[in-house]
């Protein structure tokens, strides 16, 4: 079975502080990992995927197979980063397996 765990339901940081949203996964094969974001009153959208090794809106995420983690990081948080963040895994099944999400609040 495949599983995604996001241990923090809510994360509050001050503007300009570093942000790290944790994601751990369980999957026996070689997974594809994604971060999706949902801003207030908007639809779910892809933020980044591990295969691309890209930085989007200052966010990066590195797949650590040894620790089975895919934490999302940003060195300096901005108020517009406030949103729900979902870590997702694509394993053998066709659909994505999502974590429960972390609500990130950036305080001014």
């Amino acid at each position: 079975a495949q599983r995604v765990t996001q241990p923090e339901k809510l994360l509050s940081v001050f503007k300009g502080a570093p942000v790290e949203l944790k994601c751990n996964y369980s999957y026996s094969g070689s997974p594809e990992l994604f971060w999706y974001v949902q801003y207030s009153r908007q639809r779910l959208q892809l933020l980044l995927r591990h295969i691309s090794r890209e930085s989007i809106k200052g966010f990066t995420a590195d797949l650590n197979k040894g620790e089975t983690s895919f934490h999302l990081k940003k060195p300096f948080a901005q108020e517009e980063d406030s949103a729900m963040y979902y870590c997702a895994l694509k394993g053998g099944a066709d659909g994505l397996t999502f974590g429960k999400g972390t609500h990130l609040i950036i305080q001014p």
């Binding site: 995604v4 779910l44 959208q45 892809l46 995927r49 979902y86 694509k90 066709d94 659909g95 999502f98």
Partner: protein, 116 residues
């Protein structure tokens, strides 16, 4: 261009009623997915279509749930004899042709179903 659209956006049903939720994917997108998102949870996979073929329905919670995509475009998720535990946001997503593993899923706004 237009994104994935879903209708209705909100649906209130009495327990035992049947409901039908519609998804219009992005034009040309081959893959279509349905997810169920309960309050405070992440989306959970329900079913997957490639064109008109339903290739995976392993996530459908019971035989009261049925999905179709007869012409490989618009899809309908039908829930028969709704129960209170069916209350959730139902999300539709579509992906363009190509290697499914690497394709971004584009999500619709969802239909919020409330069963009284």
């Amino acid at each position: 261009g237009a994104g994935v659209s879903q209708s209705p956006r909100y649906k209130v049903a009495k327990r035992g009623q049947d409901v039908a939720l519609r998804c219009d994917p992005i034009s040309g997108h081959v893959s279509l997915f349905w997810y169920q998102q309960a309050l405070g949870q992440g989306p959970e996979f329900l079913t997957y279509f490639q064109n008109e073929a339903q290739l995976d329905k392993s996530g459908l919670p019971s035989d009261r749930f049925f999905a179709e995509r007869p012409e490989g475009s618009v899809s309908t998720l039908k829930i028969q004899r709704t129960q209170q535990e069916d209350s959730a946001v139902y999300l539709c997503a579509s992906s363009p042709p190509g290697l499914a593993t690497y394709n971004e899923q584009f999500f619709g706004p969802g239909t919020r179903l409330t069963v009284l």
